[in-house]
C-alpha cells in the first residue's frame, strides 16, 4: 500500500497534498487529497473525511471549497477521496455522469459487472482510514465525515450504518432519500439490483428509522435555490421528518439570500454554496473532534 505523492502545496501553514495508491478494495489506482494542518507536524490530529458529489474527483473539493483555513485553525486533517473507481474498463462506466465513473454512490455493488470494483462503501469505511492512519499523524479514535450531494448521502449512510465510528456528520445538499429519487433509483438499481428493499440499506432516511446507537448531531445545509432540490433529487424533508420522529438531532438550514430584495439569488448546488458554509461545518466537526 505504497503511497505516491502526486502534489504538495503549502496552504495556511500546512500542506494540501494529493496521493495515489493501489486500492485493494477497488482494485484500481486511486487518488485522494489530504490537507495536513500545521498542527500535524507536532502531534496527532483528528481526521475529517469529505465525500464529494456526482462527477467530482478528489480535486473539486480541495480546489473549490476553501476549507483549508478553517481546517488549519482547528487542527483537522481533511481527506478528500475520489468518488468512484477509475479506469476499470467496465462496460458503460463512462456512459452517463450520474452512474459509473464519478458516481460510485458509496455503496458496495452486488451486481455484475460492478461488484468487483465498485466497493466505495468499504473503501471509505475501512481501507482508506487504515491507509491514512498508517501514513499520517492521525488519532484513529477521532474521525468525522461530511459530504456534498451524493457525498452527503455517503456521509449520512456511513454515519448511520456505523454508530460511534464517526464523531459527527454533516452534509451539504445531501441526497437524503435515494430510494425515492431518480439518481438514487438509477444508481442503486444498477449497483444493487432491482430489489428495492436492498436499496434501503443505503438510504439515509430509511437508516434513520432504525438507527439506534450513539448520539449523532447532524448538520445539513441546503441552498434554497438548488435546482436539484426543486427537481426532487435531494428530498431533505423526508429525512428531517424521519429524524424528528426518531428524535435524531438535526439542524437543517435552508440557506437563502438574507435580503428580501433579491429572492431569486438564493444558494444553489454549486461549490460556491459549499464554500459559503464550509466554515460552519468545519466548526461543527471540530466541536466533536476536538472535544
Amino acid at each position: 500500500m505504497a503511497l505516491k505523492q502526486v502534489s504538495s502545496n503549502k496552504c495556511f501553514e500546512g500542506f494540501q497534498k494529493v496521493f495515489e495508491h493501489d486500492s485493494a478494495e477497488l482494485k484500481c489506482r486511486m487518488k485522494f487529497g489530504i490537507y495536513l494542518p500545521p498542527k500535524a507536524e507536532t502531534g496527532k490530529c483528528p481526521v475529517l473525511y469529505w465525500l464529494s458529489g456526482l462527477t467530482c474527483t478528489e480535486q473539486n473539493f480541495i480546489t473549490k471549497a476553501g476549507f483549508q483555513q478553517a481546517a488549519a485553525e482547528h487542527g483537522l486533517i481533511v481527506v478528500a477521496p475520489d468518488t468512484s473507481p477509475r479506469g476499470c474498463n467496465i462496460e458503460g462506466e463512462d456512459e452517463s455522469w450520474d452512474f459509473g465513473t464519478g458516481a460510485g454512490f458509496y455503496v458496495d455493488a452486488t451486481e455484475d459487472p460492478w461488484k468487483t470494483n465498485y466497493r466505495m462503501y468499504s473503501y471509505i469505511k475501512d481501507e482508506l482510514p487504515k491507509l491514512i492512519n498508517a501514513n499520517f499523524p492521525t488519532d484513529p479514535e477521532r474521525m468525522s465525515i461530511f459530504g456534498h450531494s451524493m457525498g452527503g448521502h455517503g456521509a449520512l449512510i456511513l454515519a448511520l450504518k456505523n454508530p460511534g465510528k464517526y464523531k459527527s456528520v454533516s452534509a451539504f445538499a445531501p441526497i437524503c432519500n435515494p430510494v425515492q429519487c431518480q439518481w438514487g433509483k438509477k444508481a442503486l438499481g444498477g449497483y444493487l439490483g432491482p430489489d428495492a428493499t436492498k436499496w434501503e440499506a443505503y438510504d439515509a432516511t430509511q437508516l434513520v428509522k432504525s438507527y439506534s446507537g450513539s448520539r449523532l448531531d447532524i448538520l445539513i445545509d441546503q441552498g434554497k435555490d438548488d435546482q436539484f432540490l426543486s427537481a426532487g433529487q435531494l428530498l431533505p424533508d423526508n429525512f428531517i421528518a424521519a429524524c424528528t420522529e426518531r428524535k435524531i438531532p438535526v439542524v437543517f438550514r435552508l440557506q437563502q439570500a438574507s435580503c428580501f430584495c433579491s429572492p431569486w439569488l438564493g444558494y444553489d448546488h454549486s461549490y460556491f454554496f459549499i464554500a459559503s458554509f464550509i466554515n460552519d461545518h468545519i466548526k461543527h466537526h471540530a466541536k466533536y473532534l476536538n472535544a
Binding site: 448531531d217 428531517i240 428524535k247 435524531i248 438531532p249 438535526v250 439542524v251 438550514r253 435552508l254 437563502q256
Partner: protein
C-alpha cells in the same frame, strides 16, 4: 556665728532638753543667757535668711548621715551574728519621710516665716527623739525667738545622738569579739549569745534554752538573710521615693510659680484699687477742708468788720464823752436830729449806736473744725483680697475639629483642650443637632458634665451633624463657651440589594441603598474570597471612594466571595452591611420587573415567568413607562461586562415563546426580533411541525430542527461578536447570530401562548458552546 557656737557647745546642748521640759519661766532666763553668750544674736533678724540655709544644709547632711548609717549597719550585721538591728525598718522609713519633709520645707523656706520653717525642720527630729520632748517643744513654740534655736540645736543634738549610737555599737562589737575568743560552743536562745557549754551547766545560763552553735548560726544567718532582703527592698523603695520626690520638687516649683504669678496679679490689683481709693478720699477730704477754711475766713472777715465798727463807735462815744460843753453834749445827745445841718454834718450818733447795739453780733461758728466722718470703704479691696486665694475662672476651652474615625453611627467622640493651664474642675459639654433651618431652635440642647477633655456621646442619629461647644468650670465660675464645632456621626450601614446582584465569571455588579436620609460621602466595598478550607473573613480587597450606590467589581472565575458595603462620611465609616455571597460560576442576572408586560407574572423564585391568558381588557392593566405593551415580554438585567455570558431557558414543548437578547431601549410596543435592537429565537407550533425562527430585524434563516429543545442554552459572546442558541440537553448548536453589539444587551423573554418559561442562571458555560 552663734549657732556654730551652739553646735559646738556641749554644755548648752545638755541643758537644753531640761530647759524645754522646765517650760516658759526658764526659757526667759535662757534667752537672757543667750544674749549674754553671743553678741551676734542682736543682729539675728538680719541673719535669718542665712541662718535658714545653714539649717537646711545641716538637716540634709543629717539625712545623708542616716543613709550612711544604714550601710554601716549592713556591714555590722554581715560581721556579727548576734547583733540585732538597732535600726529596725520603721526607723529607716521614718528617715525617708523626714527627707521628704526636709526637701519640701527647704524649697518653701525662702518665702516662709523663719521661725515657722525652723519649726518644721525641727519636728522630724522630735519625732525621732520621743513624744514627751516634742510635746514640750510644741508648748514652747510660742516663744519663737528661742524656738529657732531649739530646732537648730535639736538638729545638732540628733546628730550627736546618732554618733553616740555608733560608738555604742562599736563597743558592742568589741565586746562580742572578746566573747568569741573564749570558744563558745552553744548558743543561748534566751540571752541571744553564744556561750560555752560549761556555762549552760553551771553558769548563769543554767536555766536557759540553748542550741548547738552551728545550727544556731544557721538559723541566725537565715534571719540575717531575710533582713538583708528586707533592706534591699527598702533600698529599692527608697530609690523610688527619691525619684518621686524629684518629681514633686518640680511640681512644687511649678505650683509655686503659678501661685506667685497669681498673687502678683491680684495684689497689684488690690494695691491699685487701694491707691485709687486713697486718692479719691484724699481729694474729697481736701475739698472739705477748703470749704471749711473759706467759711471760716469769711466769718473772720465779718468779725473784723464788726470790730472796726465797734471801735469807731467807741471812739465817737469817747469823743462825746470828753465834750466839755455840757449843752453841746446834750444837744448832740438829745437833739441829735433837730438841726438839719447837724444831721447832715454829723451822723445821727444816737441812732447809729442804737442800731449797732440792736444788731446782734453773730458769734456762732459758721463751720465746725471737725471733719465729717468718712467711712473707709475697703469692701472692694476685700473682695479683691478674697479673690487672691481663689483660682481664677478658666478661659474658654478650644474644641477640636472632628478626628477621622472618631464616630460610629450612634456615637461621637468629642475632644477639646485648654489653652491656658487654668485649673478646671470639670467641663460642661453642650450639643444639639445642627440644622440649617431657621426654626431649628426646637432641637433640644443637651448638656453634660465631663471630667476629662474628651467625651463619647452615644444614642445619636446616624449620619447627622451635631454642634458641640464646651465650657470649663471651677469654683470661681464658668468660662465662656468654646467655638461651636460641627461633628457628624457615621452613616448607617447600607443594605445590599441581594436580589439585584448581577455577576459573571469575571465581575459582579453590586448595588445597595443607603439607610440614611442625608447623603453620605462615599461607600467602601469589602470583599473576601471564600476558600473551601476555612471560611475566614480575610478581606482580600477593598474598593474605596465609590460615589454611587453601585459598583462593578472584577473577580476571578469560579470562586465564592463575600461582599459587604460600608458607607463613609467625614465622621467615619458605618458598620458593615449584611454580607452577600457572590458566586463567579456562570452569569447571574435578574428579571427587571419594570419591563414586564402586565399579563406576564414572575413567580416567587424570581426566575419563572408565566402568562395565563393572552387577552385582557386593556383598561384593567397598569402599564408602566418601561414595560412591554404588545409582546408579553420581560427583560433581564445582565451585567454590563464583556466576555461570555451563558444562561438557559427551560421551555414547554407546546409553548410558543421568544427568547434572546435585546438592547435596553428596544421598542416596547413591538415584537422581539422584529427590530434591529433585538435578536431572538422564536418557537411556533404549526399544524405540521415545530417551527423555529431566529429573528433579527424581522428576518430569520430557514432552519429546521428535528428535536424540539426543552432547554435552550444561550451564549452571548461579546468578544467573538456572536449570540448562539443551543439545545442544551444534547449540546446541539442551533443557530448563531454574528453581530457586533454596539451596546450591552440584556436577556429577553416573551410568551406568545399561555405557559411558563424557567430561566436558569449561574451555569458555567459548557465546553460544547465553544467555537
Amino acid at each position: 556665728f552663734y549657732h556654730m557656737d551652739l553646735y559646738g557647745s556641749k554644755e548648752r546642748f545638755d541643758i537644753f532638753p531640761e530647759e524645754l521640759s522646765g517650760r516658759g519661766d526658764r526659757s526667759l532666763g535662757d534667752t537672757r543667757r543667750e544674749s549674754a553668750l553671743s553678741s551676734e544674736k542682736v543682729q539675728r533678724p538680719q541673719e535669718v535668711g542665712h541662718d535658714l540655709e545653714k539649717e537646711v544644709a545641716e538637716l540634709a547632711k543629717m539625712y545623708g548621715l542616716d543613709e550612711d548609717r544604714e550601710k554601716e549597719l549592713e556591714l555590722l550585721e554581715g560581721h556579727l551574728e548576734k547583733v540585732e538591728s538597732r535600726w529596725p525598718p520603721a526607723r529607716t522609713d521614718k528617715a525617708g519621710s523626714q527627707g521628704s519633709i526636709y526637701n519640701l520645707s527647704k524649697s518653701s523656706s525662702s518665702v516662709k516665716d523663719p521661725s515657722q520653717s525652723t519649726k518644721q525642720q525641727g519636728l522630724p527630729d522630735e519625732a525621732s527623739q520621743g513624744d514627751n520632748q516634742s510635746k514640750a517643744r510644741a508648748d514652747d513654740e510660742a516663744e519663737s525667738n528661742i524656738w529657732s534655736r531649739g530646732g537648730l540645736s535639736s538638729g545638732g543634738m540628733s546628730d550627736e545622738w546618732n554618733s553616740q549610737a555608733v560608738s555604742e555599737e562599736e563597743e558592742e562589737e568589741e565586746e562580742e569579739g572578746e566573747e568569741e575568743e573564749e570558744a563558745a560552743d552553744v548558743f543561748c536562745s534566751t540571752c541571744k549569745i553564744p556561750i560555752r557549754a560549761f556555762d549552760k551547766l553551771f553558769g548563769e545560763h543554767k536555766d536557759h534554752e540553748v542550741a548547738q552553735l552551728p545550727s544556731a548560726v544557721e538559723s541566725e544567718k537565715e534571719e540575717i538573710h531575710k533582713n538583708m532582703c528586707k533592706l534591699e527592698e527598702q533600698i529599692a523603695q527608697m530609690e523610688n521615693v527619691a525619684s518621686h520626690l524629684e518629681e514633686i520638687f518640680i511640681t512644687v516649683e511649678e505650683n509655686f510659680g503659678r501661685q506667685e504669678k497669681n498673687f502678683e496679679v491680684h495684689y497689684n490689683d488690690a494695691v491699685q484699687v487701694l491707691a485709687q481709693k486713697y486718692e479719691e478720699q484724699l481729694e474729697a477730704l481736701g475739698e472739705e477742708k477748703r470749704q471749711k477754711l473759706e467759711a471760716l475766713y469769711e466769718q473772720l472777715v465779718n468779725c473784723g468788720k464788726h470790730l472796726d465798727t465797734c471801735k469807731e463807735l467807741t471812739d465817737e462815744t469817747q469823743e462825746l464823752f470828753l465834750e466839755n460843753d455840757k449843752a453841746e453834749f446834750m444837744k448832740v445827745k438829745s437833739f441829735n436830729c433837730q438841726s438839719p445841718f447837724q444831721t447832715l454834718i454829723f451822723p445821727p450818733y444816737n441812732h447809729r449806736l442804737e442800731e449797732f447795739l440792736k444788731k446782734e453780733v453773730d458769734l456762732e461758728l459758721s463751720t465746725l473744725p471737725d471733719f465729717e466722718e468718712r467711712v473707709i470703704d475697703v469692701s472692694e479691696v476685700e473682695q479683691l483680697m478674697n479673690s487672691i486665694n481663689a483660682i481664677p475662672a478658666p478661659c474658654a476651652p478650644v474644641i477640636n475639629p472632628q478626628a477621622p474615625n472618631a464616630a460610629t453611627g450612634t456615637s461621637l467622640r468629642v475632644c477639646w483642650g485648654l489653652f491656658s493651664d487654668d485649673t478646671v474642675e470639670c467641663y460642661q459639654l453642650c450639643y444639639k443637632p445642627a440644622s440649617n433651618e431657621r426654626h431649628g431652635d426646637e432641637q433640644a440642647e443637651h448638656t453634660l458634665k465631663v471630667k476629662e477633655t474628651y467625651c463619647t456621646i452615644t444614642d445619636l442619629m446616624p449620619n447627622t451633624q451635631y454642634e458641640f461647644w464646651v465650657s470649663a468650670l471651677n469654683v470661681s465660675g464658668i468660662s465662656p463657651p468654646s467655638e461651636r464645632a460641627v461633628y457628624v456621626t457615621a452613616p448607617s450601614p447600607p443594605t445590599i440589594k441581594s436580589r439585584k446582584i448581577r455577576s459573571c465569571e469575571n465581575a459582579a455588579l453590586v448595588c445597595w441603598e443607603s439607610r440614611d436620609i442625608n447623603p453620605v460621602d462615599s461607600y467602601t466595598v469589602e470583599l473576601s474570597k471564600l476558600t473551601d478550607e476555612e471560611n475566614d473573613d480575610v478581606i482580600t480587597e477593598s474598593i474605596v471612594g465609590i460615589p454611587n450606590c453601585e459598583v462593578l467589581i472584577h473577580l476571578q472565575p469560579t470562586q465564592q466571595y463575600r461582599v459587604c458595603v460600608r458607607a463613609q462620611n467625614l465622621g467615619g465609616s458605618s458598620e458593615r452591611s449584611e454580607p452577600v455571597l457572590i458566586h463567579t460560576t456562570g452569569t447571574r442576572f435578574y428579571l427587571n420587573e419594570d419591563t414586564a408586560h402586565p399579563l406576564l407574572a414572575i413567580l416567587d423564585d424570581g426566575f419563572t415567568i408565566s402568562c395565563d391568558e393572552l387577552e385582557n381588557p386593556e383598561c384593567d392593566l397598569p402599564v408602566y413607562d418601561n414595560s412591554f405593551t404588545r409582546c408579553i415580554a420581560i427583560l433581564g438585567s445582565l451585567i454590563p461586562f464583556p466576555g461570555k455570558h451563558y444562561w438557559e431557558v427551560e421551555v414547554e414543548e407546546d409553548t410558543e415563546y421568544r427568547t434572546g437578547v435585546a438592547f435596553e431601549n428596544t421598542p416596547r410596543h413591538g415584537h422581539l426580533g422584529a427590530n434591529n435592537s433585538s435578536w431572538c429565537m422564536r418557537h411556533i407550533i404549526t399544524p405540521s411541525r415545530h417551527k423555529y425562527e431566529f429573528l433579527h430585524s424581522g428576518m430569520t434563516p430557514d432552519i429546521r430542527i428535528t428535536i424540539p429543545p426543552r432547554r435552550i442554552g444561550i451564549l452571548l459572546d461579546y468578544e467573538n461578536c456572536r449570540l448562539s442558541f443551543f439545545n442544551a440537553d444534547i449540546a446541539q448548536h442551533l443557530h448563531t447570530f454574528n453581530s457586533r453589539f454596539q451596546h450591552y444587551v440584556h436577556p429577553c423573554f416573551a410568551l406568545e401562548t399561555p405557559g411558563i418559561l424557567r430561566i436558569h442562571t449561574g451555569i458555567a458555560t459548557p465546553p460544547w458552546t465553544a467555537l
